[in-house]
Symmetry: C2
Amino acid sequence: MATKTPAEAPASKAAPDAKRRSERSRRAIYEAALALVTEVGYGKVTIEGIAARAGVGKQTIYRWWSSKAEVLLEAFIDLGEQAAEAAGGGEAFASLPDTGDVAADLKGVLRATVDELLDRKYDAPYRALAAEGVVNRELSEKFVQQLLEPGLKLYVARIEAAQAAGQIREDLDPRIAMEFFVSPLAQRWLQGTGPLTHEYTDKIVDYALHGLAPR
Amino acid sequence: MATKTPAEAPASKAAPDAKRRSERSRRAIYEAALALVTEVGYGKVTIEGIAARAGVGKQTIYRWWSSKAEVLLEAFIDLGEQAAEAAGGGEAFASLPDTGDVAADLKGVLRATVDELLDRKYDAPYRALAAEGVVNRELSEKFVQQLLEPGLKLYVARIEAAQAAGQIREDLDPRIAMEFFVSPLAQRWLQGTGPLTHEYTDKIVDYALHGLAPR
């Protein structure tokens, strides 16, 4: 990330007290950004509004981030990391499970993704960022690079492992194969073209692996 | 459609001159709505703004539609129908080709869809409607029902024909199978997760039909 975050630049040089204050400010800014996007929508969120709600000066925000898009993206990524830590999993973006059974592993991951997408805590900020990304190319690039890509790379890695294990054909582009698992879910969530259930994602995995044509 | 459109209610009862005036107004309103959403974005489009630009009274708009969302959706659907007529195809939503070769037929349809999604004429209004749909449930339902569903049903019908012809497994839910052809494309277009090319959609069709696992 090009932006300086409190975890890197200022805090590391600061005394313990200043470091604690920085960390408190950072949390307050994240929470303010997430609350505002839920309450007023992305379009009406401003750096000034986030600063006022977080009880910090707007220079504090500008020292660490250069736009509201960057604040919101980091706040949302942080929300995911907090949830992963609370669930005892450590890092949010580590790797997908590999038990040697690619179908079972992908079904497990997609069921968890359905649960997350239906969690109201994530819904408003994630929808606000996704909606803005559809019409705002600059935000879209950051959204993909910082939020989607790390997750998509895990699918690619899991598919490559399945290719090495002979469970997925070696001549397939894993980057495209991966989309059969993530895109149907993404479209249902973004466009409301159907319900998100575990039964649905289980079928997606079976259909994709075995193919639609008779064997 | 629940809304009265000029093609139904008022024009049919009117004299030829009034009918021509209605049709001219309707065209002017569609064009104003599409131009405004491109120029200022969905959030800033108002019924008043559309009326002013179209050179009609706002009561003319309220007589036929009850919200800007309905005007925009119809304008966008009309744009697609005009394009289909110009291409000599008649109705935009008729049926997918059925030459007996489901792979070739789907590849043809998806290549044409890629070309349409890359056409700048559609880009701004379609993105504006899609983005608003992500955060606006009411618009989203209309968007899906009036704009996406008619197209998705054609895929379902083509898959059912392929099931009857033994080219797609009969035990599959065609509604879910269909998503392998439309959702990857939709996600790349909505979220910018990859380029849209004919080579890409050809692969999507082959991977989906033959499956990712070795046969």
